[in-house]
């Protein structure tokens, strides 16, 4: 990857998930120079933490591999990891963006040989697994990680562990005195593709997330199902490691609720339908899924996926917004509510409850530098007042992967229009 100097014909893409990678690649493959900024140590974003995609039940890493290969072959993209935008100055066609880069403590000499990790014994929480497990404080974020370069957790900096890691590296890749720095990057247009975060389930007080160990979120369930996750792909419930065979999925956990997220997050119905496949895949004999829902939103061509799950005798659907969850003596979460189809009360214990948590745009609560027009949920709107700052993917709407990629491709064109105008003016 050649270093190139960013100019006001450069496109800055903020966020290295599937939307940001797509926007960066599509722009670069159309001949534009791109700086891609990602806050994590590796690209891939939230989709790389999913076990399977709906509706094909294929694996997100498959597409990630292609995108990473596109990236490796494209000298027009400069990737900055552990980097966050802290300020944007200027206007359309002429932005100066401040990017704060945190120290990785590992330079480009790293060969990913793994000797530093062997030398370190400290374990730290593993955010890739939603902190369901830990990893070494010298680590590669995942097997798919790009850049394929280790990271030292700041927790060991200044301790003998860091020195041990440094001593174990034969390639001079560990630099313990690396400092945080702030870069000024010129750009003609900015694509804001910072994605989403799962709604904080603890705020939905009656569901007991955080109080009951066996109430987890849908994104955590993905990590349990993944063979490379903290349980090796076994659906084991957190309280006692028991096999979770009777799983409840609670839809609209936070979404469609004016007390929480006013919008519908679009993906959660399909995600829960998909996750019933995980239960059946792991426990073909006696796995059982129950979906508590308001409306099943298997929108457009996904309908056949819904119909297949409906035909599955191991899955039941209950039209109900669960009122509350309690815990019985065995640690089973118990769902309380009324099935509105016929108004029948239920009090049903399950092994595990999965909250289909809503999608909150990552831009919410984060101060996007400059003045960005967003809707009441915090999604970036398409508005001329935003100048050449364009929302893409889940920063702009509650979208599934397919639609996020479309949105990112469209955003790339909008950015190209701006830099083409700059190029023309300068020619």
């Amino acid at each position: 990857m050649t270093e190139h100097v960013a100019t006001n014909e450069t496109i800055l893409v903020v966020g290295g998930g599937i939307s940001g990678m797509t926007a960066a690649l599509e722009a670069a493959e159309t001949g534009k120079n791109v700086v891609l900024v990602e806050k994590n140590p590796a690209l891939g974003g939230r989709t790389s933490q999913l076990y399977r995609y709906f509706p094909k039940l294929c694996h997100p890493t498959c597409g990630l591999e292609i995108n990473q290969r596109r990236l490796k072959n494209n000298p027009r993209i400069r990737v900055l990891t552990l980097a966050e935008v802290t300020g944007i100055e200027g206007g359309t066609g002429n932005y100066t963006v401040s990017v704060r880069v945190k120290p990785r403590y590992v330079n480009e000499n790293c060969t990913a040989c793994g000797e530093c990790a062997k030398a370190v014994s400290t374990e730290v929480a593993d955010p890739f697994n939603y902190n369901l497990g830990t990893h070494k404080a010298a680590y590669l974020p995942s097997s798919m990680a790009y850049p394929q370069r280790y990271v030292l957790d700041p927790a060991i900096i200044g301790t003998p562990e860091a020195d041990a890691a440094k001593a174990a590296c034969k390639y001079g890749a560990i630099e313990l005195d690396m400092q945080e720095e702030t870069l000024q990057v010129k750009a003609g247009a900015v694509i804001w593709a910072t994605g989403w975060q799962p709604y904080d389930a603890a705020k939905i007080q009656p569901y007991g997330y955080g109080r009951f160990k066996n109430v987890i979120t849908s994104v955590e369930f993905e990590r349990l199902a993944d063979p490379h996750g903290p349980t090796g792909g076994k659906l084991l419930r957190p309280s006692d490691g028991k096999e979770a065979k009777n799983v409840a999925f609670i839809q609209c956990a936070g979404s469609r609720d004016e007390n929480h997220l006013r919008h519908c997050s679009r993906i959660c119905c399909m995600a829960s339908l998909k996750q019933t496949h995980y239960v059946r895949e792991k426990y073909p004999e006696d796995g059982k899924s129950t979906i508590y829902y308001i409306d099943i939103r298997a929108i457009d061509r996904f309908e056949d996926f819904y119909q297949k799950v409906q035909a599955d005798p191991s899955v039941s659907f209950i039209k109900s917004k669960v009122a509350r969850i309690s815990e019985d003596e065995q640690g089973n979460p118990v769902c309380w509510g009324v099935n509105t189809e016929g108004y029948k009360r239920y009090t049903t214990p399950h092994d595990l409850v999965v909250l289909a948590v809503g999608m909150e745009p990552s831009v919410k609560g984060v101060n996007i530098p400059g003045h960005i027009v967003a809707d009441s949920s915090g999604f970036i709107e398409a508005d001329p007042a935003n100048g050449a700052v364009f929302g893409a993917g889940c920063a702009s709407n509650a979208l599934d992967v397919n639609r996020a990629v479309q949105s990112a491709t469209a955003a790339a064109l909008r950015a190209i229009q701006v830099v083409n105008k700059v190029a023309k003016a300068e020619a």
Partner: protein, 742 residues
């Protein structure tokens, strides 16, 4: 052309130096690999190591580089030599990381490394650095087929980016379906009331843009060529035909509504007071032009009660009607209910639905309708009986569990019937034999003069959608992108977003064509298939199999390669029985030479040899990641990455077996309806081809177990080593190949 000079560089870092006898590897490169220059380096990917290679290229005339280090997926920035032919012998992920560091494993591990060095040297010598073919076409004009919201948006966005556009619309006016709407669902805060469609503005922008040439009352008579050099004939109403040079195409041919006459049980076609959503738009437009009151078609009386029937003829698992949900109809009915409520709150409006689907901020719109007094009833409508005093709607009320619920005296019933894509001819449809009336063949949209058919291949239910979740724009016709409701059901806001993305892809395709570069998934690849026509037997396998319809036939049935339609998967190369198709950097030779380079120990050695042909997209990365996790597998396998299972030429397998390999494993992506092949049909075609290998095995008197076809996903990090080890055990049980030593 400069003289070929090959150099081999062997890295001693990452444990290679400790685990392997690298001096022996150098000797192997020189002796067996026959390279004039072979060197080791303690840390080859370091600045110093890379400088050593660069220096040899600059000063020693090295043209071909063989790197014996880590996987070709690792350290790509360091080992980036675009001007040279480069092969990577995978000594790290392919050897030391998957072998135990024990004394007894040392010999077989070294054997493995030596073979990979032999293979790398053989491969690189058979390669050339691809130069690309820049003479494939340079038209920068976009053709947009369809003048609805999608087509107009594509045209405007492409023009704004600086590209000229030709827009062809079959009717006499721009606007399409959206042009028939009175209002649309809002797309900005506060999402409370219907908004202007914006169609008139779009049409005015198109007509006022000197960069956009519009043909009305026109259709595409013929499309010849390839990206960068399409020649398109446009037939107009007058009978005249215009020819345009086109770089890339966006097909935005839209949808028609599902015919409500097919729903007589819901009153479709039975009464003027039962309309579809478009029918209601017409009533609303008429009202807006008059006193603002929507009137009942039968007697022109103001509508006082209206019932919306959702999913009419949709989400039907029986196969009679549409199987899918059209996605936009819930919001459309909410909008239409507001037409009544906003004008007169006393009008009764009821929406009967099973699942109300208002994603994103549609939820605010839904809430607003509830505030406005629209009634939402969860139920399944079983019948609509039109009568003199209005219609009676019968339904199963799912909340009260009342199967015989009715609403009587309804002035107007609106059926939400959904979208049917205008996707042209289904080129891969299997004609139904016998029974019933012959179906009316749809009219082609693009009239492609392609060997494989006139239109873009369809996926499910007539949509031209991509099958890929990560790559929604990938059609099977390079440089032709579909957008809007022809691709999947969608509303105006989505269609505009889709149109903008498709415009980018089309622009990218024509720019790629000019530079001779491949499009996704081998983006930027400058290699392209070259064919030695003098050896061709006109068997047509390549022209039939190409997943992208890239190859035509001339009048003598020789293949005509259209490079800018090609995606470089190599399926043609795999299909060719006389092996006359090759790429500069990937050919029957580059793989065949590797197969032959492996040292085959004799039958008494107890060292079987198994060839693995692994898809570079999924299986090879899975093997790499298995290595990163130090999952061990047998030292008897030799892995060669391939572009796609479709590119596997049977000769590699027969050569391997003839040379005394004990078995061959082929690892490709999932095929079938839920295919995961990045070249859509590549793995399927490869498998069909290999299913016939049994005959070859029989003629060689070999057991059928000696060739194994496996489906491997990128996540099979634990499974792949297990599969390999199990297969090796199986082969050991069968005994060595009888061909050893010949």
């Amino acid at each position: 052309m400069a003289e070929t000079k090959v150099a081999a560089y062997i890295c001693k870092g990452c444990g290679l130096g400790e685990r392997l006898d690298t001096d022996a590897l150098v000797k192997i490169a020189q002796k067996d690999g026959k390279v004039p220059m072979a060197k080791t380096h303690d840390f080859l990917c370091s600045a110093d190591g890379v400088a050593m290679i660069r220096n040899d290229v600059a000063n020693e005339g090295v043209t071909h580089i063989m790197i014996g280090a880590c996987s070709r997926r690792a350290k790509t920035e360091a080992f980036h030599f675009p001007e040279n032919a480069v092969a990577r012998a995978n000594l790290r992920e392919g050897v030391v990381w998957i072998r135990p560091d024990t004394e007894e494993a040392r010999e077989t591990t070294q054997d493995m490394a030596e073979d990979y060095i032999r293979m790398g040297c053989a491969e690189v010598k058979a390669m050339a650095a691809p130069g690309g073919n820049p003479n494939t076409g340079s038209s920068k004009t976009l053709l947009v087929v369809g003048g609805g919201v999608t087509g107009m948006t594509t045209a405007i966005e492409a023009s704004k980016t600086g590209y000229p556009v030709v827009l062809v619309e079959k009717t006499g006016a721009l606007g399409g379906m959206a042009g028939q709407l009175w209002k649309r669902m809002p797309v900005h805060e506060p999402f409370k009331s219907p908004a202007d469609t914006g169609v008139a503005d779009l049409a005015a922008q198109v007509m006022g843009d000197s960069n956009i040439k519009v043909y009305l009352n026109a259709t595409i008579a013929k499309t010849d060529g390839a990206p960068g050099r399409f020649v398109v004939q446009i037939a107009t109403e007058s009978g005249a035909t215009h020819t345009e040079d086109i770089g890339a195409i966006v097909q935005a041919s839209g949808f028609t509504t599902y015919d409500m006459n097919k729903l007589p049980e819901l009153g479709g076609g039975k009464s003027p007071n039962v309309v579809d959503q478009l029918g209601l738009e017409a009533l609303a437009k008429a009202a807006a032009a008059g006193d603002g009151v929507i009137r009942r078609p039968s007697d022109n009386q103001p509508v006082k009660s209206v019932v919306f029937v959702q999913c009419a003829g949709q989400r039907d698992p029986s196969g009679t009607h549409l199987a899918y949900c059209s996605g936009f109809c819930c919001n459309a009915s909410i909008k239409q209910a507001m037409y009544f409520k906003d004008a007169n709150p006393s009008v009764d409006t009821t929406i009967i639905y099973t699942d109300l689907r208002t994603p994103g901020n549609g939820e605010d719109f839904y809430r607003s309708a509830q505030e406005k007094g629209v009634i939402f009833t969860k139920g399944k409508v079983s019948g609509v009986q039109p009568g003199s005093n209005g219609s009676t709607v019968s339904f199963h009320d799912l909340i009260l569990d009342d199967a015989n619920a009715t609403i009587a005296d309804v002035d107007l019933v609106v059926l939400a019937t959904g979208q049917v894509p205008n996707s042209g001819v289904d080129i891969f449809a299997v004609p139904k034999e016998g029974e019933g009336e012959p179906e009316v063949k749809p009219i082609s949209i693009l009239n492609l003069n392609y060997r494989q058919g006139t239109d873009v291949p369809q996926l499910k239910q007539g949509f031209t959608d991509s099958h890929f979740i990560c790559f929604p724009y990938e059609t099977r016709r390079t440089g032709i992108y579909t957008a809007g409701p022809v691709r999947r059901p969608m509303d105006i806001a989505q269609a505009r977003e889709d149109a903008t993305g498709a415009a980018l892809k089309a622009i990218q395709a024509l720019e790629n064509a000019e530079l001779g570069r491949a499009a996704h998934p081998r983006s930027g690849d400058l290699s392209f298939p070259k064919v030695r026509l003098e050896g061709c037997t006109q068997c047509k396998r390549c022209t039939v199999e190409c997943p992208f319809g890239a190859i035509d036939e001339d009048e003598k049935r020789f293949p005509v390669f259209n490079e800018s339609r090609c995606r470089r998967c190599g399926t043609c190369m795999g299909a060719c029985p006389v092996r006359v198709i090759s790429f500069e950097n990937y050919s029957v030779n580059t793989v065949g030479a590797q197969v032959k380079a492996v040292d085959i120990p004799d039958e008494f050695s107890e060292k079987p040899r198994i060839l693995i042909l692994a898809c570079e997209n999924d299986a090879y990365p899975a093997l790499d990641m298995a290595a990163m996790n130090r999952n061990e597998y047998s030292a008897f396998v030799r892995v060669i990455p391939i572009r796609c299972l479709g590119s596997v030429n049977t000769i590699w397998v027969t050569d391997a077996l003839n040379a005394g390999y004990d078995g061959v494993m082929m690892m490709g992506c999932k095929s079938g309806d839920e295919y995961q092949c990045h070249f859509v049909k590549g793995s399927e075609l490869g498998r069909v081809r290999m299913s016939k290998i049994d005959d070859t095995l029989k003629t060689l008197n070999l057991e059928t177990e000696r060739v194994r076809d496996l489906e491997v996903a990128i996540t099979d990090i634990e499974r792949v080593p297990e599969m390999i080890n199990k297969y090796v055990e199986e082969l050991v049980a069968i005994g060595p190949s009888p061909f050893k030593g010949f």
